[in-house]
Amino acid sequence: MAALHQRWWFWAATLAALLALPALAPQYVVHIANFILIYTLPVVGLGFLTGFTGRVSLAQGALFGVGAYTTALLTTKLGWAPVATLVPSVLMTIVLAVSLGGAAVRLAGLYFVMATIGIQQIVWLVLMNWIELTNGPQGVRSIPAVGLGEYSLETPQQFYFLALVAAGISYFLAKRVIGSRLGLFLRALSDDQLAASSVAVEVGRAKVTALALSAAWAGAGGFLYAHYVRFIHPDMFGLEPSVLFLVMSMFGGYRSIEGMIVATALLESATEYLRPFGEFRMIAYGMILLLGMMFFPMGILTLVRRRAGAPAAGKD
Amino acid sequence: MPPEKALSRPVLSTSDLNVHYGKVHAVQGVSLEVRAGEVVALLGANGAGKSSIIRSLVGLTPASGGRILLRDRRIDGLSSEVRSALGMAYVPEGRRVFGDLTVRDNLLMGAYLVKDRAKIEQQLEEVFGLFPGLRERHRQIAATLSGGEQQMLAIGRALVREPEVLILDEPSLGLAPVMIKVIYETLKRIRERGMTLLLAEQSAHIALKIADRAYVLETGRVTYESDAASLRSDPALRESYLGA
């Protein structure tokens, strides 16, 4: 009765396919795979917040940007080695998220959404207008590639394994988070905050922790992104990616990390496989979201799960 | 029980009613009937399926098999609001008042299908007369009422429209003895006016005080059916079916 993703051979096959990809697939496909792997970080991170505390955030794109900008500026302006900037990027993102959003997490539902829209706009405006620091609308160019000793990860193939390892680590850590005490607390408080506090859950602390974690994931993702694309611009971190990340974190199924990853792959590559639609491409994209939710409201993963024989969660 | 009532036609009846929740078979082929002017009690332990039957009667949970008749009309398949318009009123389990609305607005919602304003006012007065606590609090937001006050409100909401069939799921829940008395007095009075009542209760002895007949349920099946008098008078019977 185990769902597909609980069988060992499924994992073995997935792993083999992932490892073989750069050798078999054209560079362009590897390139898209890299984006997918990179994006799984902010998406899974956002999943902690939305799926597990019930708080919808539209600021994840901005936090992703903070990670990217931190490493970009440290490497281009101060000449740090890229590997040395991973920790500062993640820390910077956490600090910013907690200082801007720490007070906001106590807000209920929609008020939190609106606060995150505010945070998103503020970060974007600062990236755009604080020209002395961020180069403003010129963006940051010539960001160095991540180097491992002599070897530097220039091509999509080379970068792929870094992205894969990062996504893998993020996946397993994420699983640990939601399986941990913290995960239990977060689910409890998203069901009923008052009841959660009356069983001794420090609601405020748990929520801020969730926010910090989701920021950490975004920051790490931003780090990878900056060193892969090697040019960043404020518009890459506006509301659009925030909405995209939100959609990716919800499209795959309620509280399912695997679902988030599958959704990221499906939606990030959509712009490519929908190319035949030409100017109707975006319409097709919207249709995927809309019809997906209309007909698979428990998430697209239910497709797989049903086939594997597990009962679909049923509620009248 | 006056004999003419025993002969009167069923107002509400089910035959071979089934309810499933996923794989849980909560109601298994229940047939019951409530005749005009009668008070029928549904008794049974926790999880026996009383609420499931009632929810499928009022249209909140779809029946997975069987039929439900209101007078001679088949109503399973009809939506809740249509059943309500046909004369059913419902006091849900666990109060479920409209939390964001005031007490008064809650009662007005009970009278949603009543068009005659004067009539509504008169009914409101009657409910407030019954539950003076609610009158004092008529502008309070229902969510902030005490548990018992909410229960009174839920009952009041069903009474304002003077329904033909009144279905109550554990009306005594959370009420103080004095309030239980008031409510059962009221139910008696209503029934005298010819209203038909179906009543689920945990505490058999309260329900049996006014019931004409009772069905005892166990894990989704009717295990015993009789007139209330025999259950009332025979402690052994009560003991064996109701554990009390």
Binding site: Q27, F35, N129, Q138, G139, E154, V229, H233, T271 | -
Partner: protein, 352 residues
């Protein structure tokens, strides 16, 4: 085997109308060349990718061209997109001629494989500053600009050029591309009482600014650069745009060849859903036909040879007065064109 010509541009998103112009220019050039027998018997096939006017997607789009093994890329719209996707071309060693991005940073000395035919913001902003003071006699110039790279780049050079001439702008205010209401900015400008208002932005903000400025009673004459060089300016601000003076990338009345080409272009594409927009189409067309094709003819498709050939290119292009050539940063050096809005159309500027 065909020669593969890559085109990247925004064919959806905010740059749609420009992107489609670029595609049309390429199609026109390629059709003509193939009809004439191709290059040494080899046909050109076009690989067009849409980057949705989005910098992140632009990287993917260019990667796709690299993957499809195109021989060179002619295209690119939007400075943010080009700044992002040129990194890919540089890394892959793919010759790339940019036609639709004006940010000076694209051609610095760091770019090896990237060239640009359209002139930069710096040239345009400098020329319009000069024209404003010397030819239009403006004394109190205010500036309103988009806060994006285009607007900020123009503003910096424009203000610097004014200073060189000895003039300070009376007000400089930014707006965000998505703004619809400009009363806040324009109120400040009105306080400054300017006689010229320089607008560095694009459609639809620019015509909206013009309309609202007139509503607020600002009488200053408008000036601007290539961002305004779009027929929609007159559709959206029919009255307010009258008299605006701006630099543009192409004008059909500069020489008869340009006129003939423009007529052909309009005839060929006016049936489509897009209104014909010759400006960037002209650049794409000229870059393909007069720069890329001759180089492939002489140097073949070896990338390094092709790159060197383009770098050495020198010649004439219709609508460009005099000779044009690439400088050592890969920028095509040329004279720009000044136009004035009159009777709902761009006219070659006839002022002093």
């Amino acid at each position: 085997q065909d020669i593969k010509l890559g085109v990247v541009a925004g064919m959806s998103g905010p740059g749609t109308s420009y992107g489609i112009g670029i595609r049309q220019g390429a199609e026109m050039a390629v059709r003509e060349i193939n009809a004439a027998g191709g290059i040494k018997g080899r046909k050109i096939s076009l690989v067009v990718v849409d980057d949705a006017s989005n910098p992140a997607q632009s990287v993917t789009a260019m990667q796709r061209l690299v993957n499809d093994q195109v021989d060179l890329v002619v295209g690119g719209w939007g400075s943010s997109q080009v700044l992002a996707n040129m990194e890919v071309a540089e890394r892959a060693g793919l010759p790339y001629i940019v036609v639709g991005a004006t940010n000076p940073k694209i051609t610095t000395e760091k770019n090896k494989w990237t060239f640009r035919v359209i002139f930069t913001d710096s040239v345009q902003a400098e020329q319009i500053a000069d024209a404003a003071v010397r030819r239009l006699g403006m004394k109190r110039i205010a500036v309103i600009h988009d806060a994006n790279d285009y607007g900020v780049g123009n503003r910096d050079i424009f203000v610097a050029s004014l200073k060189k001439i000895g003039l300070d702008p009376v007000a400089v205010v930014p707006y965000q591309s998505a703004d619809k209401d400009f009363t806040a900015q324009l109120s400040r400008i009105r306080e400054a009482n300017p006689d010229g208002l320089a607008i560095f932005g694009t459609i639809p903000a620019a015509p909206a600014i013009m309309n609202q400025a007139r509503d607020l009673g600002i009488k200053a004459r408008f000036i601007g650069t290539g961002g305004l060089a779009n027929e929609n300016l007159m559709t959206l601000a029919p009255k307010a745009s009258e008299g605006t003076v701006l630099t543009t990338y192409f004008h059909e009345d500069v020489d008869p060849q340009a006129r003939a080409w423009a007529d052909r272009y309009v005839k060929e594409f006016s049936g489509g859903s897009q209104p014909p927009r010759p400006v960037l189409a002209a650049w794409e067309y000229r870059a393909v036909k007069f720069i890329a094709v001759p180089c492939i003819e002489s140097s073949g498709t070896d990338k390094e040879k092709l790159r060197q050939c383009i770098g050495r290119w020198k010649g004439t292009l219709f609508s460009v007065p005099g000779d044009a050539y690439f400088d050592k940063t890969g920028q095509l050096v040329q004279q720009s064109v000044l136009v004035e809005v009159g009777k709902g159309a761009f006219q070659a500027f006839k002022g002093k």
